[in-house]
């Protein structure tokens, strides 16, 4: 019994029940399969994160994003006049997270690819693109680069989903996707 020492002192020599052998085999193979799926998806799947990331000083990153925004701003929006930035397809695009905003707003073209750079100026933030539901962790001092291709046009929210202090729930950004 489970509360007393095994009656058979040589319990490790007891043969296994057929059901046990069957289930262990199935569970083991299923594990191998699930492992294989992740590898397979890296080869043939379309949703994978790149391994591209750089160490970066937040101030330097901030300057890069400012320069990027200045170059491609098409209009401003909201009470705080956040620039809406429309970079050319295929280019490097930048967004930063800080207490408590995602900056700037991006305007992208449908079915075009962009290299999105993300980093934080202060604490950790969570880049949560909704409603498409892409979630990435954004760290200070790390510049992450992800190539993405919007496949739907419309207005997308960038929610912060990593707790970042008392204004966390007001931290919201935006990405517009327009047809060509």
């Amino acid at each position: 019994m489970a509360l007393t020492p095994p009656e058979n002192p040589h319990w490790w020599r007891e043969p296994l029940h057929r059901m046990e052998i069957g289930w262990i085999t199935i569970a083991f193979l299923w594990g191998l399969f699930m492992f294989g799926v992740m590898v397979y998806w890296h080869i043939n799947g379309e949703q994978n994160l790149s391994n591209e990331a750089y160490r970066v000083n937040p101030d330097v990153y901030g300057e890069k994003v400012e320069a990027f925004a200045e170059k491609y701003t098409v209009r401003t929006e909201g009470k705080t006049e956040i620039p809406v930035v429309k970079p050319p397809p295929g280019s490097d695009i930048y967004m930063l997270g800080r207490l408590w905003e995602w900056w700037p707003i991006l305007e992208l073209q449908k079915d075009q690819t962009y290299r999105l750079h993300l980093s934080s100026m202060d604490w950790q933030h969570g880049f949560s693109l909704q409603p498409t539901n892409i979630n990435l962790q954004v760290h200070p001092k790390y510049e992450m680069v992800v190539t993405l291709k919007p496949t739907k046009s419309g207005e997308f929210g960038v929610v912060c989903n990593e707790f970042c202090g008392i204004g966390h729930h007001t931290m919201l950004g935006k990405i517009y996707v327009v047809d060509k």
Binding site: M1, A2, L3, T4, P5, P6, E7, W11, W12, E14, P15, L16, H17, M19, E20, W23, I26, A27, F28, W30, L32, M34, F35, M38, V39, W41, H42, E46, Q47, L49, E77, I82, L118, D122, W123, Q130, P131, T132, N133, N135, L136, Q137, H139, P140, Y142, E143, L148, P150, T151, C160, N161, E162, F163, I166, H168, H169, T170, M171, L172, K174
Partner: protein, 565 residues
């Protein structure tokens, strides 16, 4: 001197219960239940605030209460209770006195001081950083110090347990190998040692950093090592709760593991592979390679998941086997229908196994698949998953065994047996709702740890799908149901300890809570001699089908997301 150690022989089980062991089990269990009550109340406040129609607390209090909820129930309730379980599995089951009782008391005091200190730090309002306290967010130094003291205390308790094993071996208080439940407890304690080591490695420099003695803590490295504690500590829960499943099945039904070899082997897989799970929290972080993520997140080819799937078969298998031996042989599920569903220890255990496997286990594997994490990370799906593991699994299992601990160790008869009888069902129902509705809202993109899904005060606006608001309302209702279940538990247990009738010497005959003779085995032969177990095969097949189906559904979801590379 050794002979002078006082003990009594339990009239129900025949085990020796030493005085010091008994006191320490009682005090650790009582404090655990107090933290459950406090932390559970915080949890209710969290759920009522996230219920959009109620939106109870202001933002600052919400984040404060959420931090306290995490620390109190995920850490303090569970670890205090685990210490009680370890002392039981070491000292009582091996019929030996507890090693170094003074150290055991010191461990208890350190843990209590640490837990209270961390709570004070949070309630003072300067440490509302969530239980994970990710750098570079800074909090009051005594928050970290409280956690460190608590961890050191827990470590001391682990060594008291190991010492007890050594004494039992030296004095030959048992024959052959340790019982399976003790084996599981040893696994839990070994995992606890490196878990607590991870905690110390990261929390000590972070404490120094909060005092400006260390210049910088890398935020990715912090998460890697912090989750070496945070996730591995869930594996302590796993090992403990699986031991409790075996323990309850043995006590209530006389169930014997189908095969000692298989069950112990499955436990060993935990020791070797579980600590890789820190990777589950780093799947969408910058600066970590995909190869590292894929290998670690799968616990090296899902070998720890294999361990859990094995227990998932061997627990119902043992129950079916015991029931059939006792004559409940009718059809495929006659044994299940005739199981003691009115006994809260059994029903709590059964619900814990099923809910843990389906709500917690399957979703955990899905959440932990590298690419699938992209569509779930930090959404409410995550707490949905771990309320399935830690609340429906661990907490329900701990509640279930409490219904045996109180009569056997506290020697009191449960007051209000009817309330006790319904409690696991109500709590299980509530937690199931919490888990499912949070996962539903998470799938719709709602963020965890977030005060306002309507973004009322944000400079921009964003509309969350209306279905998500409905989910959060249902989550709130479920939390109320679970809280009623929790309150019933606290009332019955505290009421029994304070006012319950003393359990007499002959109560094992007049009012048995376990099989006479301590659940003396109803099966003699080894596994090859066991009966056919069609019911277990059917249950496991249903589980596996659900697993496979759900796994593929999520890859389908992922394939519809914007291409990323």
């Amino acid at each position: 001197m050794i002979a002078k150690e006082k003990f009594r022989v339990c009239p129900d089980t025949g085990f020796k219960v030493f005085d010091t062991t008994e006191k320490l089990i009682k005090i650790n269990a009582v404090v655990a239940v107090v933290f459950l009550a406090v932390g559970g109340l915080f949890g209710l406040l969290v759920a009522l605030t996230r219920w959009p129609a109620v939106h109870l607390l202001p933002a600052d209090l919400f984040y404060l209460v959420l931090t306290a909820h995490g620390a109190d129930v995920l850490l303090f309730w569970i670890v205090f209770f685990e210490v009680a379980v370890l002392y039981f599995a070491g000292s009582v089951l091996l019929n030996v006195r507890l090693a170094a009782p003074r150290w055991a008391w010191a461990a208890f005091i350190l843990m209590l001081v640490g837990a209270v200190m961390a709570n004070v730090a949070v309630l003072q309002g300067e440490s509302s950083v969530m239980f994970t306290s990710y750098v570079p967010m800074r909090v009051a130094p005594h928050f970290y110090l409280g956690l460190i003291l608590f961890a050191v205390g827990a470590l001391v308790a682990m060594f008291v347990f190991f010492g007890t094993l050594v004494i039992a071996k030296e004095e030959k208080t048992y024959e052959g190998s340790v019982p399976l439940v003790t084996f599981g407890a040893i696994v839990a304690a070994i995992i606890a040692v490196y878990t607590i080591a991870s905690g110390a490695i990261i929390l000590i420099p972070t404490l120094l950093w909060s005092l400006d003695l260390v210049a910088d803590i890398d935020s990715v490295m912090y998460k890697l090592v912090w989750w070496g504690m945070g996730h591995s500590s869930q594996q302590i829960n796993m090992a403990t709760q699986v031991s409790i499943w075996y323990c309850i099945a043995a006590m209530v039904l006389g169930a014997k593991p189908l095969s000692e070899k298989v069950s112990r082997g499955a436990f060993l897989l935990y020791i070797v592979f579980l600590q890789l799970a820190s990777a589950h929290h780093l799947l969408v972080e910058p600066g970590i390679s995909s190869e590292w993520k894929v290998f670690n997140t799968s616990y090296a080819l899902y070998l720890a998941v294999l361990g859990s799937m094995i227990h998932g078969m061997s627990i119902p298998g043992a129950v079916e086997c015991a029931q059939r031996r006792r004559g409940f042989n009718e059809g495929m599920f006659g044994w299940l229908r005739k199981a003691p569903w009115g006994n809260p220890a059994f029903s709590g255990m059964a619900l814990s196994v099923v809910l843990f496997g389906i709500l917690g286990g399957i979703t955990g594997v899905v959440l932990g698949a590298e690419q699938l994490n992209i569509i779930m990370h930090n959404t409410l799906y995550v707490p949905g998953h771990f309320h399935g593991t830690v609340v429906a699994g661990t907490t329900l299992a701990f509640m279930a065994i409490t219904y045996l601990v109180v009569p056997l160790i506290f020697r009191r008869e449960i007051i209000w047996p009817k309330v006790a009888q319904w409690q696991p069902y109500l709590f299980g129902l509530g937690v199931t709702g919490i888990s499912l509705f949070m996962m539903g809202a998470g799938t719709l993109g709602v963020s965890r740890r977030h005060w306002d899904m309507a973004f009322t005060d944000a400079p921009l606006n964003f509309d969350v799908p209306p279905a998500a608001f409905l989910m959060m309302g249902l989550n709130g209702i479920s939390a109320v149901i679970a809280s009623i279940g929790g309150i019933m538990f606290i009332l019955v247990i505290v009421g029994t300890i304070l006012f319950g009738k003393k359990r007499g010497e002959d109560a094992c005959r007049t009012n048995p809570v376990i099989l006479p003779g301590g659940g003396a085995t109803v099966m003699a032969a080894g596994s090859e001699g066991t009966l056919k177990l069609p019911g277990t095969i059917a249950l496991v097949s249903v589980f596996f089908a659900a697993f496979v189906l759900y796994y593929f559904v999520n890859w389908k979801y992922l394939s519809e997301v914007w291409p990323l590379s």
